[in-house]
C-alpha cells in the first residue's frame, strides 16, 4: 500500500538523518480534503497519508527550504515541477530526496460536492468508488467521474525524477484528449475567446492564490507588486485583471507542469488551466519540449539557438 510505503520511507529518512523533515500529506479536518504535513520526528510518520485528495503541489514549498534537507512526496506533475525548478537552480542537488508516487489522478472535491444535495459530512475512498454521506443522503460515486480536469488529460502520472518510487508504475494513458481545454479554446473565434477569458477573469479578487501555490511563481518581486516601475494598478478594473492573468500565464511558458494547482486554489472558481495548457501545447508543437521530462534541457524561452523556429515573425 502506497501510504504504508511513504511512512516507511519517511521513518527511514528521518531516523538516518538523511533529511531534516518530510513534507507530505496529512488528514484534513473536512471530508474530501488533505493538508500538507511537515514531519520532523520519525515517531510521527503515521500522520502521513495517501489518497485521491492529495491535490497540492508540494514543490511550491521548496522556495522556503533555506539550508534544510527535505524529503518531498511528489506525484507525476509535482516531480516535473521539481525538475523545472532544479533547471532554474532553486535548490542544491543534495538538499532534496524525492518520494515519488505513481499518481492515481486526484479527485475534484468541488465536483463531488456539486453531485449531491446538502453538505458532505463524511467521505471514504473505496477502490474505484467514493462513498459520501451527509444529512439525509448516502451515495457511492464513481471516482473517475470526478477527477480534476488537469488529471483527466495527464500523460505523466509517473514521476519523471524520483529517489524512490513507492508503488508500481501506472500506465500513461490520458482519460481525455491531451490539451482538450486548449483545443476547445482555440476553436473559438477571437471574439468568443476574449469574451470567455474576460468573463473568467472578471471574478478575480487579486488574492494571488494562483501565484502563491504555483511552484514556478517565485520572483522576489512579482510585476504586480512592483511600484517602481509600476506596471499595473492594484484595483479591479478589467484591464488590470486581464493584464495580471495574461502575464501570469505567459510567464509559465515551457515551465508549467500542468498540475492545475492554480485553478484548484482559486476561491472564485476562475478557469485558468486552459491558458497554460495552450502555451504547453504550443511549446510542444514549436520546440518539441515538455516541462520536467528531461533533467538537462532548459525550457525554450530560457535559451537561444540559431536554429530556433521563427515562423511567428511576420
Amino acid at each position: 500500500m502506497i501510504q504504508e510505503k511513504i511512512r516507511e520511507k519517511a521513518r527511514e529518512l528521518l531516523t538516518n538523518k538523511t533529511v531534516d523533515l518530510i513534507i507530505g500529506f496529512g488528514e484534513g479536518s473536512l471530508p474530501l480534503r488533505t493538508t500538507p504535513r511537515f514531519i520532523r520526528n520519525p515517531e510521527k510518520v503515521d500522520r502521513l497519508i495517501w489518497n485521491s485528495f492529495c491535490e497540492n503541489n508540494l514543490s511550491a514549498y521548496l522556495h522556503k527550504l533555506g539550508q534544510f534537507k527535505v524529503g518531498l512526496v511528489v506525484k507525476g506533475c509535482d516531480a516535473r515541477s521539481v525538475v523545472a525548478l532544479s533547471l532554474e537552480k532553486r535548490f542544491k542537488a543534495d538538499q532534496l530526496f524525492l518520494i515519488g508516487v505513481p499518481c492515481q489522478r486526484m479527485v475534484d472535491r468541488r465536483k463531488v460536492s456539486r453531485a449531491v444535495k446538502g453538505e458532505i459530512l463524511q467521505a471514504r475512498e473505496a477502490g474505484d468508488l467514493i462513498d459520501v454521506k451527509g444529512d439525509g443522503f448516502e451515495v457511492s460515486l464513481k471516482r473517475d467521474d470526478f477527477l480534476y480536469s488537469s488529471c483527466q488529460v495527464c500523460i505523466h502520472r509517473n514521476p519523471t525524477r524520483t529517489d524512490v518510487l513507492v508503488g508500481d508504475p501506472v500506465e500513461e494513458s490520458p482519460l481525455k484528449e491531451t490539451y482538450q481545454e486548449a483545443k476547445a479554446f482555440e476553436k473559438m473565434s477571437p471574439e468568443e475567446r476574449w469574451r470567455f477569458f474576460e468573463k473568467e477573469t472578471s471574478r478575480c479578487i487579486r488574492c494571488y492564490a494562483c501565484r502563491e501555490v504555483c511552484p514556478m511563481c517565485y520572483c522576489a518581486e512579482c510585476f504586480v507588486d512592483s511600484s517602481n516601475p509600476k506596471w499595473i494598478e492594484k484595483g479591479l478594473s478589467p484591464s488590470d485583471l486581464d493584464f495580471y492573468h495574461i502575464v501570469r500565464a505567459y510567464h509559465q511558458t515551457g515551465r508549467c507542469s500542468g498540475c492545475g494547482a492554480c485553478e484548484r486554489a482559486c476561491p472564485m472558481g476562475i478557469r485558468l488551466t486552459y491558458l497554460t495548457q495552450k502555451l504547453t501545447m504550443d511549446v510542444k508543437e514549436l520546440f518539441d519540449f515538455e516541462t520536467g521530462i528531461d533533467t538537462e534541457t532548459l525550457p525554450p524561452l530560457s535559451t537561444y539557438e540559431m536554429e530556433d523556429k521563427q515562423e511567428f515573425i511576420k
Binding site: 511537515f38 468541488r110 479578487i205 492564490a209 507588486d225 478594473s237
Partner: protein, 332 residues
C-alpha cells in the same frame, strides 16, 4: 420599493456567489449558507475611488466624490456577515475618527438579516460570540419557514417597512416553528471552539513555537483575509498623472510581504511566520484589547477556501492546549 437599490447574493459561476445589486428577483440565490465574498464589500468595497482630480488651469482640482445617492437594502446576509459589519464599524466610525466613505454607505443601508436554518460544519459562530439567529445589527430579520418568511422589525429603519404593508400578521404557530428551527441550528453549530479567553492566552505567546507550527503550511495568498468579513486593512494609492487621476482605496492583506515593507527596504515581518502571527494576533488579541470583541465571527470562509486547508479552529484549539506545541525545530 423603487426608491431603494436592493443588494442580495447572486451566483457568478457554479458554486460562486457574491452580493450584487439586484434588478430582478430571479437573480437572488440563497442556496448556499454564505457567499464567497462577504457582505463587507458593500460598505468597504475591495477597490473604491475616494476622489478624482483634474488639472484646471495651473491647479489640480477635485472633480468628484462618489457618494451613494440612493437608499439601499442588503437582503439575505447571514447573522455572521451582519455582525461583522458592526465589528468593522468600530474601526471606521468612532469618536476620534470617522470614515465618510464607510459611514455614507452604512447610513443609507437597511440591513435585512437572514437566519441560518442550515449552518454547515465549518460554521462556529456560537463559539465566536454570535449565533445562527443573532438579530443584533439587523434592521429586519428574516426566518425562512419554507412557504413564507417570518419577519421581525427590529429598528426604526426596519419599522419603516411595516408602514408599506408588505407584511401580514404572523400566526402564533409560526413562532413555534421559529423556535424549532432555532433549536436545530443551535444544536448543529454547537459551542466547541474555545474562543473565550483567547486574548489572555495569546498575551503569553508572542514568541511561542506555536507560530512555527501555524505558519509552515501557509503559502502566503490573501484568500483568508480578503474573504474574511471582519478583515479591514487597506492600501491607498494614486492612479493617473499630472493632468488627471484618482485616489483609490484597495483592500490589503497582512499576509502579503509588501504590507509591512518599509521604504528603507526593511521588513519587520520578514517571513510567513510573522505574517500569520499578525493575522491571528490582530483577530484574537489586539482587536479584543481595543474593542472588547474578537475580530472573528466564525463564518468559516477561511477554512473552506484555504488552498492548503489551514483550519483556524485548529489554531484556536492549539492555543488552549496545556502546552502549545511547536515544531521540534525552529522555522523552516
Amino acid at each position: 420599493m423603487d426608491e431603494y437599490d436592493l443588494f442580495a447574493p447572486v451566483q457568478l459561476a457554479e458554486g460562486v456567489s457574491v452580493f450584487r445589486k439586484i434588478d430582478h428577483p430571479d437573480e437572488v440565490d440563497l442556496s448556499s449558507a454564505n457567499t464567497q465574498k462577504p457582505a463587507k464589500e458593500l460598505f468597504f468595497p475591495q477597490s473604491e475611488v475616494m476622489f478624482r482630480y483634474e488639472k484646471v488651469g495651473k491647479r489640480n482640482q477635485i472633480v468628484s466624490l462618489d457618494e451613494e445617492n440612493r437608499e439601499r437594502i442588503l437582503f439575505g446576509a447571514r447573522p455572521c456577515d451582519i455582525e461583522a459589519i458592526s465589528i468593522i464599524e468600530k474601526v471606521f466610525v468612532s469618536e476620534e475618527y470617522t470614515d465618510v466613505y464607510f459611514l455614507d454607505k452604512r447610513k443609507k443601508t437597511t440591513l435585512m438579516g437572514l437566519g441560518c436554518n442550515h449552518p454547515i460544519s465549518t460554521c462556529f459562530c456560537s463559539s465566536a460570540g454570535g449565533d445562527p439567529f443573532l438579530r443584533a445589527g439587523s434592521d429586519l430579520f428574516f426566518i425562512d419557514l419554507g412557504e413564507a418568511y417570518f419577519v421581525e422589525l427590529l429598528t426604526e429603519k426596519g419599522m419603516a417597512f411595516h408602514q408599506n404593508k408588505f407584511f401580514k400578521e404572523a400566526d402564533p404557530r409560526d413562532l413555534t416553528l421559529v423556535k424549532e428551527l432555532e433549536g436545530k441550528a443551535f444544536e448543529k453549530v454547537g459551542y466547541t471552539i474555545p474562543v473565550d479567553g483567547i486574548e489572555k492566552r495569546l498575551d503569553l505567546m508572542g514568541e511561542s513555537l506555536f507560530w512555527d507550527r501555524v505558519h509552515e503550511i501557509c503559502m502566503g495568498c490573501r484568500i483568508c483575509t480578503y474573504l474574511c468579513p471582519t478583515c479591514h486593512c487597506f492600501d491607498i494609492v494614486d492612479e493617473g498623472g499630472h493632468q488627471r487621476g484618482q485616489r483609490v482605496r484597495n483592500w490589503d492583506s497582512c499576509l502579503s510581504p509588501l504590507y509591512s515593507l518599509e521604504t528603507s527596504g526593511h521588513n519587520p515581518r520578514p517571513s510567513c511566520r510573522e505574517r500569520t502571527r499578525q493575522r491571528l494576533m490582530h483577530k484574537f488579541n489586539y482587536f479584543p484589547k481595543n474593542f472588547n470583541q474578537v475580530a472573528c465571527v466564525g463564518c468559516g470562509r477561511c477554512i473552506l477556501y484555504c488552498p492548503v486547508h489551514f483550519d483556524i479552529r485548529q489554531a484556536i484549539l492549539w492555543t488552549s492546549s496545556k502546552r502549545p506545541k511547536g515544531s521540534e525545530r525552529g522555522v523552516l
